[in-house]
Amino acid sequence: MMGTRRTIVVVLILAACQSSAPPPERSARAVPPATSCKPEAPIAIEVATRAVGNTELEVTARATPTRDVPSIELVLVLPAHANALGATTARFAATNAGDVRVMTTRIRVDHRTSSITAVARLPVDDVELSRTATVAIGAPAPAPRTEVYVLPDGELAREVRP
């Protein structure tokens, strides 16, 4: 019984220590929103990062068109302080709806709060449309200090305080 309690305490301490470090894997995904009424690129894009050692990340971008498309271009947009260790652009020929196109590369980057964006570009008729997905990297950004209250007419307000 005593040993179990000690184990729980150790696990909690470890969890607490790890909560301030960047998680080893992160991902973000953007799909054509069902509700959107602006012209939307017919493609889903996902970007995922996986820590490889202390200063490297493996970045994977996956694009899945929702209709047959004549070509796809995948591009990674990296923060200025990151160095790519491989290609950050890939081009794919005609792709059927539902087929997945993948690009994986490694980057060297420190733990500053930042983000990586994957862009999927494709032509629709003669217009090049695109969709992006952005994943946060590095230390999590501190949440702004806010205060919520009700205005006299019942409207709610969320105030960002200095």
Binding site: P32, T35, S130
Partner: protein, 516 residues
């Protein structure tokens, strides 16, 4: 210290004439009148019958001074600035009004109204209003102060006993990032036109005074308090002329406040909503709503319906408009996407002032149901007409994407029916060509936004509208409406535009009649 102004009201505010110097018959009569008075005054002062001369007397061959009391600095006479130039009166007709600042008169033009807005502005205790004509009132001359009366009257001269004991003023700005195809410019501070500003009790969050910023971002608030207070700006415009607000996806207004201070301790408090703030996109969305509503009023809409915009950073809801409750949702990465925001406001305009049978659903610009193409293309027309730039732009990291809508042609098929599926881009392109002038572009239609707008709020909402093409509202009815409003004089250039340039098989035989 604010310079004291003496104001001469303007009797009329028609199209602003160019400032000019003139000497018409009326002015000549006035010059003679003033000169006559001046000469009589001079003769009386000189004794009238004095025959001796002095060295100060003008020589017989010296030019006669016809200016009387009018100096080279000049004076305001109604809407005219009169100066003495080479011993003669020169009159400048002011574009808006003639004012005297200190002892110096000057003309002001209608551009002074660009920083005022529908609720006025206080410059010290001088009240600026632009309710049709620019008008300045020195409140202090009537022992009043310039302050905020309410959201209907806005800024006014008010009894100092009726306002709070403390006065705070300042400027609200936000950082815009100008949009262009493929780029978002560096942040530039802009006045937060019409935004709500409040003095808030720091202990209870009670609003002690609520005002609206003028169009130059300035505000003045009077309040009474004894504890700590803070100034807060909210993503809302309270004026009936611009009833818009921006909430986050949980339904909260965005608000940005400053550090609290003791009541009365600060007379000036400025707030700047930075481009990196989590609220920045809300101020951009609100500014787009203000722009759209001003455009509507400039095009004859008397009553502006409210719009409720929802935007929050890092959300992925898509961008869309819900007509049932005037809700406009903007995707998290559309915070600085002016064209997307105005496109969605275009749906609000269709919903409130025109018409659409848009069935909705996913679309990517390729040929689609003509009712969808009309709804989406019409909304895009509103965006590019307001911006006066023929580009649809959806920016995102990496540059996003854009469509040029003046030179590119997303043609239909002349061998198909009028009810064929068409591209929303083609609808926007045709409407843009009917908006821009004939010169300097690829089409010969000499159009204007007002003429297109007249069709949108006229024939398209009329019970006389005849359903042709695909069942429901589409480009065919809009073209029918063009000829209803403009007559058949544009048949030639419209045929060249619609059939030759865009290969759309419109029959030119709508309710207004048949083109030859």
């Amino acid at each position: 210290m604010t310079p004291r102004l003496r104001v001469t009201p303007t009797p009329d505010y028609g199209p602003p004439p160019e400032p000019r110097v003139r000497m018409p018959a009326f002015a000549m009569m006035r010059r003679l009148e003033i000169a006559l008075v001046a000469s009589l005054v001079a003769s009386v002062a000189c004794g009238g019958f004095e025959t001796t001369t002095s060295p100060d007397d003008p020589q017989p061959d010296a030019p006669m001074n016809l200016c009387g009391d009018v100096t080279a600095t000049g004076t305001c006479l109604g809407n005219e600035l009169v100066r003495c130039v080479d011993n003669a009166l020169a009159t400048e007709t002011c574009a808006a009004a003639c004012i005297t600042e200190g002892n110096t008169p000057r003309c002001i033009g209608p551009e002074v109204c660009s920083g005022v807005g529908p609720l006025g502005r206080c410059d010290g205790d001088v009240l600026w209003r632009c309710d049709g004509a620019p008008a300045l009132t020195d409140c202090a001359a009537a022992n009043q102060v310039c302050g905020y009366r309410d959201d209907i009257a806005g800024y006014a001269c008010v009894d100092p006993a009726s306002v709070g004991s403390h006065r705070v003023a300042g400027t609200i700005t936000w950082e815009d990032r100008a949009l262009a195809p493929g780029s978002l410019a560096d942040p530039v501070a802009k006045p937060a036109r019409g935004v709500m500003v409040a003095v808030v009790d720091d202990a209870t969050n009670a609003l002690l005074a609520t005002v609206s910023a003028a169009d130059d971002g300035s505000y003045v608030a009077h309040y009474t308090a004894s504890g700590m207070v803070r100034i807060v700006t909210y993503s809302r415009s309270r004026s009936d002329a611009r009833p818009a607000r921006v909430r986050d996806t949980s339904g909260y207004l965005h608000a940005v406040g400053v550090a609290p201070f003791a009541a009365g301790a600060r007379a000036t408090v400025d707030i700047m909503v930075g481009a990196t703030s989590t609220a920045s996109g809300a101020w951009n969305a609100l500014d787009n709503a203000v722009t759209a509503m001003d455009w509507l009023r400039a095009h004859g809409v008397a009553t502006i319906s409210p719009v409720y915009i929802y935007w929050q950073q890092a959300t992925a809801s898509g961008s869309y408009y819900q007509g049932a409750n005037n809700e406009l949702h903007l995707d998290g990465d559309d915070g600085f996407d002016d064209v997307v925001a105005l496109h969605e406001l275009g749906h609000y305009v269709q919903d409130e002032y025109s018409d659409s049978d848009n069935p909705g659903g996913a679309h990517d610009g390729s040929p689609a149901d003509p009712r969808l193409a009309w709804g989406e293309g019409g909304a895009t027309w509103f965006a590019i007409a307001v911006r006066e730039q023929p580009y649809y732009i959806d920016w995102s990291t990496g540059g996003g994407w854009s469509v040029e809508l003046e030179d590119r042609v997303h043609a239909a098929s002349l061998t198909s029916a009028m009810s064929q599926n068409v591209s929303e881009w083609m609808v926007a392109e045709v409407m843009w060509d009917m908006t821009d002038p004939a010169s300097g572009d690829a089409d010969s239609v000499d159009g204007s936004a007002s003429r297109v707008w007249n069709v949108l709020v006229g024939y398209l909402t009329s019970p006389a509208r005849v359903d042709r093409g695909r069942a429901g509202l589409d480009l065919v009815e809009f073209l029918d409406g063009w000829f209803q409003h403009d007559g058949m004089m544009t048949c030639g250039p419209m045929r060249a535009l619609v059939r030759d340039k865009y290969s759309f098989p419109y029959d030119f035989a709508g309710p207004a009649g048949a083109c030859p």
